[in-house]
């Protein structure tokens, strides 16, 4: 696959050329953390981060998104009829996505883009995006991507993988979309030594010291794990807040709501969390996941067992470590995964 050399002196110039054809999105430093945002005119993405605080899943799956709109004005002929909302489907280029987050988009895709169901909002935003990854050379101590079928130089889900070589970037073209973007930016010089990428890749992988063991999970029965004795201990400290689910790049659950103001209304979807009691509350008042033990078990069973059994694509976790770093009470998915993987049911 072709590797292009981008001189850092030509970086801003290339990005400016792209602004005509794409909306540019990239990590920006705010206060003491980085998050993805639409770049202002002349604003450059800032790559000096371990990873962004929130994941870039919101590029295709924003926390709140209007799906349909309606009018309650009975003087109008089409009142009370749900109408499509015009969405911006223009091309956008997302810079600085970490390989773990790109892989996460592929896992989310398994849910939003299937042969039976196609989520038009997610698919439209995803297809409009060209994803330019930034390889990870300084993984954090909470990164365990190499044991989740991913890695700091993983290419899955990306259109281009960029690697920082000091005074220049190497950009490995992964898809046609990626190739087009590089052409439009005027970055055409072939790299003199593309093997540098492989070298840096092994160096970075060696820096990842954290791992989870998942190989036994597949052979465990759901009921054995469900009834395992450790859930009370794991869930005790849990506050049942939505932090882990909201910062997770692979959590895809949402809730649909109608909101009307005066005579205008919208149907929208908002992120939801299996940690919230309301998530499963029936209109009868019955709640099948009544206690936090139920809810905590559900989250980990979904990520580490149900998903694996249903899709055969490994666990529903890319090892980005956000939930570990941001959990208010330090519940650590690595510890839970190990407990599940090593669990032996007594007969």
């Amino acid at each position: 696959m072709k590797v292009i050399k981008i001189d850092k002196k030509k970086w801003a110039e290339g990005l400016n050329k792209l602004r005509a054809a794409y909306q540019l999105i990239g990590p920006v430093k705010k206060d003491t953390y980085h998050d993805f945002q639409v770049l202002d005119k002349d604003q450059l993405p800032d790559f000096d981060f371990l990873n962004t605080r929130m994941s870039p899943k919101s590029i295709a799956f924003p926390q709140s998104e209007v799906m349909l709109q309606y009018s309650l004005d009975e003087a109008k002929e089409d009142h009370h009829i749900m109408k499509e909302v015009q969405k911006d489907a223009s091309p956008r280029a997302v810079f600085g996505i970490r390989p773990c987050d790109a892989k996460a988009l592929m896992l989310v895709k398994l849910n939003f883009d299937t042969s039976d169901y196609k989520d038009p909002y997610w698919i439209q935003a995803y297809e409009a995006s060209t994803l330019i990854g930034m390889a990870c050379d300084n993984p954090s101590s909470t990164c365990f991507c190499t044991s989740t079928g991913c890695g700091p130089y993983n290419e899955e889900g990306l259109d281009v993988l960029m690697v920082d070589i000091g005074d220049h970037y190497l950009a490995k073209i992964i898809s046609k979309k990626g190739e087009e973007l590089l052409e439009k930016a005027g970055w055409k010089t072939s790299a003199d030594d593309p093997s540098l990428i492989e070298k840096k890749k092994s160096q970075s992988e060696a820096k990842i010291t954290s791992a989870v063991e998942t190989k036994n999970l597949k052979d465990k029965t759901i009921l054995d794990l469900y009834e395992a004795p450790f859930w009370e201990d794991i869930s005790f400290s849990c506050l049942n807040c939505g932090t882990c689910t909201y910062v997770c790049p692979t959590c895809w659950c949402f809730d649909i709501q109608d909101e009307a103001h005066g005579k205008k209304g919208v149907r929208m979807r908002n992120w939801d969390s299996c940690m919230f009691p309301l998530f499963t509350l029936h209109t009868t008042g019955h709640n099948p996941r009544e206690t936090k033990v139920h809810r905590v078990r559900q989250r980990f069973m979904h990520k580490l067992k149900y998903f694996m059994d249903k899709y055969d694509k490994g666990i529903m976790c890319v090892g980005c470590g956000r939930c570990i770093r941001l959990c208010p009470v330090n519940i650590d998915i690595r510890t839970v995964c190990d407990k599940m993987n090593n669990f032996k049911a007594s007969c």
Binding site: C241, C327, N330
Partner: protein, 315 residues
């Protein structure tokens, strides 16, 4: 404070072996620096994992409501005040509890420390009022007093107000502390500036409710933001809904908040959630000479009436 742990373990083991309690609620070492995890122990073996240091900022009183068994609980000053509040509000019975009081010298602010370092912090240790931070080739020792959680720096109730056992000699309470400098700054603002100040505070809120769920006061069976039949508050990122949640929650904590800082510590987005409750805490102190959770014999000002009430309209 590190030296407390032996005594804490000794008391806890005794309480469990003598069957005085069914469980003990405490902390075990977390997997990250500056993060301990609340946990429970049911036997002497479990007690071995208990820790006590300057990373026990989560308020353990939060784990009490609606529990049925006999509970031993490790309580620093603020936890003990929230236990009193729970007892007054009938969320737990006094005779269900054996309180292991821990005189506290303040918890450290992990965000403040993380923000002081460019690189990731991999190890934090403490010794005699000093905190040593290590990470990626950097090592630095800082005075603990400089990196305390803000609420701890101005705390005047470090000793537990209610306890059955004490894990150490009581510590000297801080004197001449200006507890409300930050509130006075906001009070002095114009209405427009106040609005801007609170909007800026909430800019990053993701409505995860970690602040509410870490708060011992927030035990409503159904929080108003979770009311569904009918729904009271919108679920989107609309600033009006986010404000409504934070403002109403703060008002609901008026006269009950002990300024334990659990909300700030829990917030994944680094929002100073105390900024909402602090003014109400100040008002309760100035109007009613009231500090929450200090006495089991007095009703909180917002659920009682006194002829000496400073407001004319109520008389």
């Amino acid at each position: 404070m590190l030296e407390y742990i032996d005594k804490i373990k000794e008391i806890s083991t005794r309480l469990l072996t003598e069957k005085k309690v069914d469980i003990i609620i405490g902390f075990r070492k977390g997997t990250l620096p500056m993060s301990n995890e609340p946990c429970f122990a049911k036997n002497a073996e479990d007690i071995k994992s208990f820790v006590w240091d300057s990373n026990c900022g989560i308020n353990l009183a939060n784990y009490l409501p609606n529990r049925k068994e006999k509970i031993g609980i490790i309580a620093k000053g603020c936890d003990s005040r929230n236990i009193v509040t729970h007892i007054i509000e009938n969320k737990i019975k006094r005779d269900q509890l054996v309180i292991i009081g821990v005189p506290c010298k303040g918890m450290i602010d992990r965000k403040k420390i993380s923000d002081m370092f460019e690189k990731e912090i991999t190890e934090v240790t403490e010794k005699q009022g000093k905190i040593t931070v290590k990470g990626n080739g950097v090592e630095k020792t800082i005075e603990k007093s400089k990196v305390l959680q803000e609420n701890c720096a101005i705390c005047i109730h470090r000793n537990p107000v209610i306890y059955d056992e004490l894990a150490a000699e009581k510590v000297e309470e801080q004197k001449n502390v200006d507890r409300y400098e930050d509130v006075r700054k906001v009070e002095a603002m114009t209405p427009e500036d106040k609005w801007k100040y609170f909007d800026n505070l909430l800019e990053n809120c993701i409505r995860c409710y970690a602040c509410r769920n870490a708060c011992p006061l927030c035990y409503c069976p159904t929080c108003f933001v979770d009311e569904a039949k009918p729904q009271w508050v919108g679920k989107s990122q609309d600033p009006t809904d986010t404000r409504t949640f934070h403002f109403l929650r703060a008002f609901h904590c008026a006269g009950r908040c002990t300024d334990c800082g659990a909300c700030v510590r829990a917030c994944p987005m680094g929002i100073n959630v105390r900024a909402f409750t602090k003014k109400l805490e100040k008002d309760c102190f100035e109007l009613f000479n009231w500090e929450a959770g200090l006495s089991m014999d007095e009703r909180p000002p917002l659920d009682t009436f006194k002829p000496t009430d400073p407001d004319e309209f109520i008389k």
